[in-house]
Symmetry: C2
Subunit: 312 residues, 2 copies
């Protein structure tokens, strides 16, 4: 899947990913009204609104982008019906040729971690059958439990040629509370995120595609200096970069996340794309034409990032 | 819910929790055969086997225990049908008066973390309705992203009187890779798990029940010395202790996790209870009588732990 991701990035000339993180507050009234008319103000009604909203956005932008990143929490909050909408979204994006990064941030140990890897990237054995549960192409993974938690994902990645992005330095203001702690060992003192990055690089070496590894990392756009260090620590890893746009990350900050080959990073925007029609800049589209607003926002984002990359 | 947990522990005199972590390999053939006959070798068939297995175990042990801890990964690996079995298990355990700890180890930031908190502990607003998604009483949470990731859970805990257990020191062999790193700050040098423990104690102070906080911690039975330190660092927190039994934790190691009042810890066993019939000790029950084997294993576990607590 890392090859498919790279192909898609080259084809679209767009190192970006659209975060499909629908909140009911983003969804235009006419979509919600239709969904509630059919299913009532129920979890099913909310899930239907989410699915219709996603579908229209995907229809409007799929030819411009390599990948999408549905955030499972936004679906999980609507219980089982919400997760059915998550599944439909994955399947629909696959039909459209998109790489699907499941932003699930799972992390556990041993057989439990293996079960998560199976759920999102693998196949499960039921009697004589091998069945696909959710079937994303990549999943985000939390490293707090150490190698025991990651190894089962690596096994599935090798078998299925799928990938993971391990949280290294997250984009939020308090990410430093633990991730920036100066940790001492025989090699001296360095921040925890750097130690995690070194482990990610090790894991990545054991799961190589042609030029990049199946194992990538998450590093927030809001920390470009750390991004520079981590780019060096994990040369074979794709970096998934959240925090552009709504969270304050600027295109000029993104250059350090990329390698010399122009690859190695993929920048996420969620709200900035899917709720573009709510921004002043795209307000003239109106709520009825929210998909066109999203398309315009994608075009602008690609131009913004490519310009910043040319300038470096 | 921390009050209900304490009441249930006092009523049963059993500071334990049964981990409902079903793997198909644990489920007796006759259960699987019946499920596959009805639904085929499908995700639905697997989920039906899981649900029937859980139901029989819960029926056999519910009067002896205060709480259960379904591990969502084991359900998620069967996709949507698996998660429906997870939901049915939660609802059934509630009918039986049990406290339900959703072992979900979720962790994200801001609105995403809020969505996870809503999914597992809260209610979601859909139009004019407030609806309950999964509805567990407690959830396990990963701290790697810092306070930004925890605060939304605290808000929901206060509103719903529910609780969380934050991962501090996990039971697995490689948990030390990051959790044991010596971190330096103005107060000197101490391991990361202790810093995380200090943060958990702060969060706990802001979410107090009568004597204990809604905010607890996960500390593995396999690290009793660290348990002793963390007990001191987080005096108002219940500690959820995995790793007893199958992972090597002994009853004698458990005393440091409890407070003087005999409360403050709840010890989990999963495989050791739900697959008891596969152990030599309980093999005479046979696969047909697996629920009775589980009941015997629960009785033995309670006796084992209470003896160790009396000896201290």
């Amino acid at each position: 899947m890392i090859q498919k991701l790279i192909e898609n990035i080259k084809k679209t000339n767009a190192p970006i990913v659209v975060g499909l993180d629908p909140m009911l507050a983003y969804i235009p009234e006419h979509i919600k009204k239709a969904a509630f008319a059919e299913y009532g103000e129920t979890l099913e009604g909310a899930a239907e609104a989410v699915w219709q909203y996603n579908k229209k956005i995907v229809d409007a932008v799929y030819d411009l982008i390599p990948a999408v990143k549905p955030q499972i929490a936004m679906y999980e909050q609507f219980g089982i019906p919400g997760l059915i909408a998550f599944q439909k979204t994955i399947d629909y994006c696959h039909e459209k040729g998109l790489v699907v990064i499941g932003d699930v941030k799972r992390g556990d140990i041993g057989s439990t971690s293996a079960a998560y890897a199976t759920a999102h990237l693998g196949r499960v054995q039921v009697g004589s059958q091998q069945l696909t549960p959710f079937g994303e192409d990549f999943a985000t993974v939390n490293p707090y439990l150490g190698t025991d938690g990651i190894r089962p994902f690596l096994d599935v990645c090798r078998e299925e040629k799928k990938g993971i992005f391990v949280l290294v330095k997250t984009s939020n203001p308090s990410s430093g509370e633990f991730q920036d702690r100066l940790a001492a060992d025989a090699d001296g003192t360095r921040p925890l995120y750097e130690l995690v990055g070194e482990k990610v690089a090790e894991w990545a070496d054991s799961c190589m595609g042609e030029t990049y590894s199946y194992v990538g990392a998450v590093v927030g756009a809001t920390y470009p200096e750390m991004g520079k260090t981590l780019r060096r620590v994990m040369p074979k890893c794709f970096i998934l970069v959240p925090g552009y746009g709504a969270q304050g990350g600027k295109a000029a900050d993104l250059a350090p996340f990329f390698n010399e080959d122009g690859l190695g990073a993929i920048v996420n925007s969620s709200r900035g794309i899917i709720a573009a029609y709510k921004q002043e800049k795209y307000a003239s589209f109106g709520a009825e034409h929210f998909p066109e607003a999203s398309r315009a926002a994608v075009t602008d984002m690609i131009e913004d990032i490519n310009k910043a990359l040319e300038r470096r």
